[in-house]
């Protein structure tokens, strides 16, 4: 609860601030708080993904983007009323959708009746992977995971190309090499 309040405060700060560098740092803080919430909810794998992607990779990518653009956010040209309306309607729909969900951790929920018992009982025999989540992701849904990986790989390459391509050609090589090594840091 406290964490969610802090997240809301950080979000308001992100919306209000105009200095994009500060916004990037606040985004990193938001990711860490979100990962803490995920740990509270016992979703450790999601927390790990959130921390590594949100606080690690995307911070660095955003910094690389900031290198190419300005530091300052321009004033929006339109009033924010229509986006606010859309956001409120969407949030209302989502909250309305959560009313029908079974209670959190309910073993008798519908989603736990379909294939989950099969996975839990047979996964070690069928795949000989000790962790059930890993067996589902890597064996039962192997092609799905492969497709996801391809998508993410393509996106990573595209982002790297975009961030690299806009340099002027007259720039000395050492500078470009430095920037490139800076971008490569998170992968290491």
């Amino acid at each position: 609860m406290v964490l969610l309040t802090l997240m809301a405060i950080v979000t308001i700060g992100v919306v209000r601030l105009r200095n994009l560098f500060a916004v990037v740092i606040l985004g990193g803080i938001y990711s860490f708080l979100m990962a803490s919430v995920m740990i509270m909810l016992d979703a450790v794998d999601v927390a790990m993904t959130e921390a590594s992607v949100g606080a690690g990779i995307s911070t660095v990518l955003m910094l690389g983007t900031l290198y190419l653009t300005k530091m300052e956010e321009t004033r929006p040209a339109h009033t924010p009323l229509l986006p606010l309306f859309v956001a409120v309607v969407t949030a209302g729909g989502l909250i309305y959708g959560t009313i029908d969900l079974p209670p959190f951790g309910d073993a008798a929920g519908i989603i736990h009746q379909h294939v989950a018992p099969h996975y839990l009982q047979n996964s070690i025999v069928e795949t000989s992977v000790p962790n059930v989540v890993t067996s589902v992701l890597a064996s039962y849904r192997g092609f799905d995971t492969l497709g996801e990986t391809v998508v993410i790989f393509t996106a990573g390459i595209a982002v790297l190309l975009l961030l690299k391509g806009r340099r002027p050609a007259s720039e000395p090589d050492s500078n470009a090499a430095k920037a490139r090594s800076r971008r490569r840091r998170p992968k290491a």
Binding site: G13, R16, L17, R18, N19, A22
Partner: protein, 156 residues
Amino acid sequence: MSDQILTIVSWLFLGLGSFFYLVGAFGLFRMPDVFTRMHAVSVSDTLGVGFLITGMAIETGWSLNTARLIIILAIMLYSGPIATHALAQAALHAGVKPKLADNRLKKSRRISATREIAGSSNIQAKSSAPTKSRSRTARKSSSATRGKGRGQSSKR
């Protein structure tokens, strides 16, 4: 018997760790300057984390988790000084001057002579102005002090 002693010791360590962690956080909250705040955070990064992890390790006993705790402690003890050093270096490089005791008088005089916007950065940490205007004046004042800081350092 020894279990009880271990439990009491780990309670003690956890309490001390919480205390130092809170002290560091209050320092981060209350200190007037980037560098003094860094100093405060180092308290919670070394003493707070160290005591907390030691308390947890005592509670766990010898197991794999102890090894994990020790790895975490080692990483944080190594990375804390590196991060602090890089932060201080970057701050100095960008022209943020530490607030010195004799610097404050000169600074206030200089500011009142040149630009009054920069003066608000001294009070800024304590005032509760709305966030937007605060960040804007902070930016202006930091760019203003940057130019002046260079001249001052060459004078020294």
